[in-house]
Symmetry: C2
């Protein structure tokens, strides 16, 4: 199975109540791709970087089975840069700097080798670009998933509505679900959102777990109660990468299997927050993931 | 099995963004007792009311298997009265009125018939009174559980520390767990709290479910994603009543059975919020509870 991933490949500088980083590798495409790479190959990454982006990182992606033909390198330009500072609760954060740089020119063109992916994960970018990617696909993929955020709901609602109509799975957080639906109760929000296009909805609730909705079915996956959250950056993208990576590797779109995919996504996110940036994803192995998934099984298991 | 319940029996006036009530029946003893009455008999209720409290409510309690010999009626005095207003999120609330009335004189004396309960649930009252109740027990019960709140952590920390040492199970919410432990991460908070006395800890997270800790074991029970939360008043007490009611009726204190008890507590709480005050608890039957518990099974079930 092949998984097309569209998202940013960028630099981040992160500050938490405990520590701060210089510029490190970040971006939704990076997090989604690395997370999915534990499950499926090839991953076809679409993104844009400046000439300041390290070649060795792209080579590392390739060694992980992430193809980078679709990562445009803009000569003499700088990569997208985001800097943010987390509050004490490690949930809320302030953006300190957003330098769009090459991202302002992002106009994704799929290389020919990318035009028939089995699965598609569209990271949180301008819905116009999400639509553009979908329109370049030669065949309808087995499943198209997308992420979005409040910014696009406010600035490009019509384009977002169109993107949603083209999508099978929407993966957003609870605050975004509330804004998109205008409903506070997530069970109600889910019904409203599933009328907008996606027949499957994942609502990420951070430390409170994740909800999966399809038709009248609902599944709740817990989050692991962690003693330390070092850096939540990228956890949502890593969830999406694990979810779509697992789904595409198993090539089974039943609700039963989607529940498993939510658990794998949650397990991947639980690793991500253990170190700054994507560091932890470069250290873990498949057996770590299996062991972590076992902890989720123990955490949620009961018999009446 | 017998379950001793200590808590307030009182009047509440509740305002939500959607509706408001006049004085209705409330109090932790009411909610715990009614919830537990679906599982176990006899329930031995200890509380205090004024002569304004309706006799027919006490008779209703009796018909539900809740003994009221331990409910002192103060002639010519008024019952405890609390009035509060919920915010839009239905989680946070402002207290508008707290008229202690008879509660200021509450000095629980256990009738002789109450002095050897199998299980004990101490609702959220002054830890001095919680200790006083425990000291009147002639035999060590199979399990003593207690609730508490930020107010007692601030005003009577030494007495609270003593009460915790006498207790097997502490049932509190996430905010209270954070304050009691001084730790933000609940996994860390649990470790700190379990060193203070209780070997079992339940952390209620409202719409985000509940965590159960014992030693190195942890269990997460989801909350049902509800389309409407009508009134959250009493939901935490109803959880505790369902938890202790189920535990005492099954008389099995294994971790496996305690997980079931958390699910039954969560199911009871999910009913409570569907109408104002304890109304919903007067309508449901055992088969409603079994059906609701089935929804929790479906919600959390997955196989890797």
């Amino acid at each position: 199975m092949s998984l097309l991933v569209v998202g940013t490949v960028a630099f981040d500088a992160i500050e938490t109540p405990f520590q701060k980083t210089e510029k490190i590798i970040g971006g939704s495409g990076t997090y989604i791709g690395l997370s999915a790479s534990f499950f499926v190959k090839p991953i076809q990454l679409v993104s844009i970087v400046g000439s300041d982006f390290p070649q060795e990182t792209l080579k590392y992606f390739n060694r992980k089975g992430i193809k980078t033909e679709g990562v445009e390198v803009k000569k003499g330009k700088k990569s997208f840069f985001w800097s943010g500072k987390y509050h004490m609760d490690m949930n809320s954060r302030d953006t300190l700097i957003t330098d769009l740089n090459v991202l302002a020119e992002f106009d994704p063109v799929l290389p020919q080798s990318y035009q028939s992916p089995d699965y598609v994960m569209l990271g949180n970018i301008d819905p116009n670009l999400q639509i553009k990617v979908i329109e370049q696909l030669r065949n309808r993929p087995k499943l198209i998933a997308m992420d979005t955020m409040n910014f696009w709901m406010n600035t490009t609602p019509n384009e977002l509505a169109k993107a949603l109509k083209l999508t099978d799975v929407l993966i957003i957080n609870d605050e975004e679900a509330r804004q998109l639906s205008g409903e506070y109760a997530l069970a109600k929000a889910a019904k409203v959102i599933m009328k907008k296009g996606p027949r499957i909805l994942v609502i990420k609730k951070g430390e409170h777990g994740a909800l999966l909705f399809q038709g009248d079915e609902v599944f709740f996956a817990p989050a692991l109660p962690l003693e330390e959250v070092f850096d939540p950056t990228g956890a949502g993208d890593v969830f999406a990468g694990g979810f779509m990576g697992y789904l595409s590797s198993s090539n089974n779109r039943s609700f039963t299997n989607m529940k498993r995919a939510v658990v794998y996504g949650s397990a991947m996110a639980s690793f991500c927050v253990e170190k700054f940036g994507p560091q932890r994803l470069t250290e873990i192995r498949k057996d770590h993931i299996q062991k972590r998934v076992g902890q989720f099984v123990d955490l949620a298991k009961f018999r009446i």
